[in-house]
């Protein structure tokens, strides 16, 4: 049974298991909406949470959709938009079933709350390339439910049977009488109707799709081309002060004496100076004043204490020495995959191959420096604007830190100026705890921006690994055994601070889960807890592990006298999906040719191939390279990608381009180097990211196998590095067993 709800109090009085309809009037009431939706299902005690969970996901139509008088549709999106195109995809999916053109949608991020948990895995995060693939049926049904409500409203208004009605984009039609009402005209009545039984709506036949599967234009393209798009760093509220921080040079150090505090208090524009955990802050009327003043503060930093709540960074930590430490690890190792008889097969192999690979630490280096705006309201409630990929987790963390109840906290999630994994809940790497503390201290709203330098000092790092491979080839030169033992710490176990019962999948994905038919294999991890704080970076474990595996596979091909493309086809002979994909990328590149060959411009070039299976999708990449002035030049990347089925081919092509850029960046130039416990680079001058001049041409073929839908934001990344490395090895004869290539000398 469905009951319209107008007040939070009414929500509290609902019996268990009731389907709830948040009133449209309430929804339209602006800030009251936030409060109501926010309150839903969270602060209400165990029974109420249970009740909320009992409601079918994604059926609270008025909580998601507001249809305005001009029939434009405002969608509160459960996912954060950071460039990956999820706002557009959601407008397509909902619009398809609602029968409303995605171009008429205005999309904003939804507040925290159980209402917006729409993914089939019961989570609400924007990450893991999960948004579309995990919510697709639910968001379609949401659109269909809304359409049904609009049709019901028209039936009541006209006094005609529902069965005589149909829709066209933005309108309900009664063909028999030639009448039509726009969605805008019907919305007032429709959104106060009970939401129909979710099982009662029929979804559109995919063969009739107008927008799903089409290159629909992004809903945010114009605003982002004219400076109108607002990110957290752009938000301002009345009475707001600005803040800047100086972090301790190493995580875990604490604030001692401030040698020139009085002098800094007298600097232009300075409001106040503050001591924070592991940082000092200056609050000022202007951010520039705050930054200048806080950088002038002379702080006696104290060494971390034994009870430090964060992972302390040792004074002698160096990333190069840490790699040697990983390489020296002898175990014990835990197996993630084990098939056949690895030791026996290796012992009996005609040829044995061994190699050790490693990668580098990386920063996220998203262009928008982190910031947060905090405002305490007169009633004691707290509003926070902050970049995030998981609003409920952040809201709950703020509740824990402040002692406020979640209902007293309003979380705003503006557009993300890039994320790539940067905006998860990283205890020591987010500015909002500082912003909240400062706002409380000064009794006014405070916007804190981390300077680029402070961001590089506290960003969490993409993990490193040293992987020792052993493999065996038979008399025909074909691999019959492959072992990979990785000395590493995965990001998930790093955030937990300890190894879990199970292997951290984010440590080994890309070594584990490979599809090649090699009868005897072992993939294992030596867990090595490190001093650096780690985090998720676009495509996570795959970003390193597919490089290791696919580059080593080329070594096996060469040792066995096999062409690497042909070897992969052989090892995938019983896998029609991946065989098709590999052929697709070969065709896309004009037919597989390894080289070296001489290009039209006279340069000597070669090509490499690699594959990856990340986040439910499949990818195959061919790269063409030459050496220019001692550096690797990547001319072309051909990528065939199979995400099963798709929502927007244009956005997929853009995501492949973006993932290729990040993949090339980590392959060619990027590296976070630590010396004496501190990052060598604090800005883009010493931390190069891929510039336009080193971008490759990108050619994309989308293969729709019809398999279960996979992700798109991350899957096009992991195969880029090994394809380039394999091409370089073929061109130069030099094995590439580490990244980035800027550490190599090529002649």
């Amino acid at each position: 049974m469905n009951v319209p709800i107008d007040t939070p109090a009414a929500l509290l009085d609902l019996p268990l298991g009731e389907t709830v309809n948040l009133s449209r009037r309430r929804f339209l009431a602006g800030t009251a909406v936030g409060a109501l939706v926010l309150g839903f299902g969270l602060p209400l005690g165990g029974a109420r949470v249970q009740a909320a969970a009992a409601v079918e996901r994604g059926t609270q139509v008025p909580a998601f959709l507001e249809i305005r008088p001009d029939s434009s549709v405002r969608l509160l999106c459960p996912f954060m938009e950071g460039g990956q195109g999820t706002y557009t995809a959601m407008a397509q999916i909902v619009g398809e079933e609602l029968d409303a053109d995605p171009a008429t949608f205005l999309v904003d991020s939804a507040p925290p709350g159980e209402t917006y948990v729409v993914m089939e895995n019961g989570m609400r995060i924007t990450g893991g390339s999960m948004s579309v693939r995990m919510s697709y049926p639910t968001m379609r049904r949401l659109g269909a439910l809304a359409r049904a409500m609009l049709m019901q409203a028209a039936a009541e208004q006209w006094g005609v049977p529902l069965g005589e009605l149909s829709t066209e984009p933005g309108k309900v039609l009664h063909t028999a009488s030639g009448r039509a009402l726009t969605y805008g005209e019907l919305a007032g009545r429709a959104m106060d109707l009970p939401v129909p039984d979710p099982a009662s709506v029929k979804l559109r036949d995919p063969s009739q799709f107008r927008w799903i599967g089409k290159p629909v234009r992004r809903v945010d393209a114009y605003d982002k081309s004219t400076g109108k798009a607002q990110y957290t760093i752009d938000i301002k509220v009345d009475g707001m002060l600005h803040a800047a921080v100086q972090h301790a040079p190493r995580l875990g150090m604490t604030v001692g004496n401030l040698r020139n505090e009085e002098q800094v208090k007298g600097l232009p524009g300075v409001h106040s100076v503050h001591r924070l955990p592991g940082a000092v802050a200056v609050v000022a009327e202007r951010w520039w004043h705050a930054k200048r003043a806080v950088e002038a503060l002379q702080v006696d930093w104290r060494e971390p204490t034994a009870d430090s709540k964060v992972r302390p960074m040792p004074a002698d930590f160096s990333s190069d020495a840490w790699r040697e430490h990983l390489a020296a690890q002898q175990g014990p190792a835990r197996d993630d995959e084990r098939e056949g008889d690895i030791d026996g097969a290796l012992a009996n192999a005609k040829t044995q191959v061994e190699a050790t690979y490693h990668n580098q630490y990386l920063n996220h280096a998203q262009l928008e420096p982190p910031s947060a705006l905090a405002r305490f309201n007169p009633d004691g409630s707290l509003e926070v604007w902050l970049p995030n990929q998981a609003p409920d987790m952040f809201r709950d963390d703020i509740a824990k830190r402040t002692g406020l109840s979640p209902a007293q906290i309003t979380l705003h999630s503006p557009l993300l100026g890039g994320f790539f994994g940067r905006h998860f809940l990283y205890d020591s790497a987010n500015p909002y705890p500082q912003a909240i503390e400062l706002a409380k201290a000064v009794g006014r709203p405070v916007k804190l921006i981390w300077s680029r330098e402070e961001e590089f000092l506290r960003d969490v790092l993409r993990p490193v690994a040293v992987v020792k491979f052993r493999a065996g080839l038979d008399a025909d030169g074909l691999p019959i055994a492959l072992e990979a033992v990785s000395a590493t710490e995965g990001p998930t176990e790093a955030l937990a601070g300890k190894q879990g019962e199970q292997i951290d999948p984010t440590a080994l994905e890309g070594l584990s889960g490979k599809a090649y038919a090699i009868a005897n294999k072992r993939i294992a991890q030596v867990y090595v807890k490190g001093p650096a704080m780690l985090g998720y970076w676009r495509s996570v474990g795959n970003s390193l592990n597919d490089f290791f595996y696919e580059a080593f596979l080329d070594e096996l091909a060469d040792k066995g006298g096999k062409d690497p493309f042909e070897l992969r086809l052989h090892l995938l002979r019983d896998n029609p999906r991946l065989t098709t994909l590999l052929h697709a990328v070969g065709e896309l590149s004009g037919g597989w040719k390894r080289g070296p060959f001489t290009a039209e411009d006279g340069s000597k070039r070669a090509r490499g191939v690699a594959m990856a299976s990340p986040f439910g999708s499949q990818a195959a990449v061919i790269a063409e390279v030459s050496i220019e002035q001692g550096q690797v030049k990547v001319h072309d990347i051909w990528q065939a990608i199979d995400p099963g089925s798709i929502v927007n081919p244009a956005i997929i092509e853009a995501q492949v381009n973006g993932a290729v850029a990040l993949g090339l960046s980590q392959t060619l130039v990027e590296e976070a180097v630590y010396v004496d416990g501190q990052p060598r680079a604090r800005n883009y001058d010493l931390y190069p990211i891929l510039p336009a001049s080193r971008m490759a041409r990108v050619h994309v073929r989308i293969v729709e196998s019809g398999e279960k839908m996979g992700g798109i934001g991350e899957p096009p990344l992991p195969a880029v590095a090994p394809a380039v490395a394999n091409a370089v090895a073929q061109l130069t004869g030099q094995r590439i067993r580490s990244l980035p290539l800027s550490r190599y000398t090529f002649s």
């Binding site: 460039g83 234009r217 081309s225 921006i449 853009a654 850029a661």
Partner: protein, 151 residues
């Protein structure tokens, strides 16, 4: 001091060495111009000063007194800028969008000086960083603009 920004005159109280970026963002409230690095490395803060592209994060505000500053907020008031925006939308350039204000400014400056730039001139002028990797889309949009594409 008196500033001319987007054809309007503003009286601003700021130290002479304050970067133009922070005057634009915090004093004038024009937040379309972005802070990315503060070191003239990324170009997110690009604005036009007398039609030339400059990086506002390292430009002292005193240096633009008596000059005409154009920010992204007024870009469509400029005939060339309007074409650039139309091409950016047509080619669906933006992903996260954070660098795109600066990219549009850099593109506008190039086309104001060189109506039909060669690919080499485009490559030499379009050097702002983009972490989302929209470089090929930017190049496609610029190439079309250089060919005289009408919006």
């Amino acid at each position: 001091m008196e500033l001319r920004i987007n054809q309007q005159t503003y009286q601003v109280e700021a130290a002479a060495d304050t970067p133009l970026l922070w005057v634009i963002r915090d004093d004038l409230g024009l937040t379309g111009t972005k802070y990315g690095c503060g070191l003239a490395q990324c170009g997110a803060c690009s604005v036009l000063v007398d039609g030339n592209v400059v990086r506002a994060c390292v430009t002292p505000v005193a240096g633009v007194v008596g000059r005409e500053v154009t920010t992204i907020e007024a870009i469509e008031a400029d005939a060339v800028g309007k074409r650039v925006v139309a091409a950016w939308v047509e080619h669906q350039v933006a992903q996260c969008g954070y660098c795109q204000s600066g990219q549009v400014m850099a593109a506008t400056a190039l086309l104001k000086h060189t109506a039909k730039p060669s690919d080499e001139q485009i490559a030499a002028a379009m050097v702002n960083l983009c972490r989302c990797g929209t470089y090929n889309a930017i190049h496609a949009a610029m190439h079309a603009l250089a060919q005289g594409e009408k919006a």
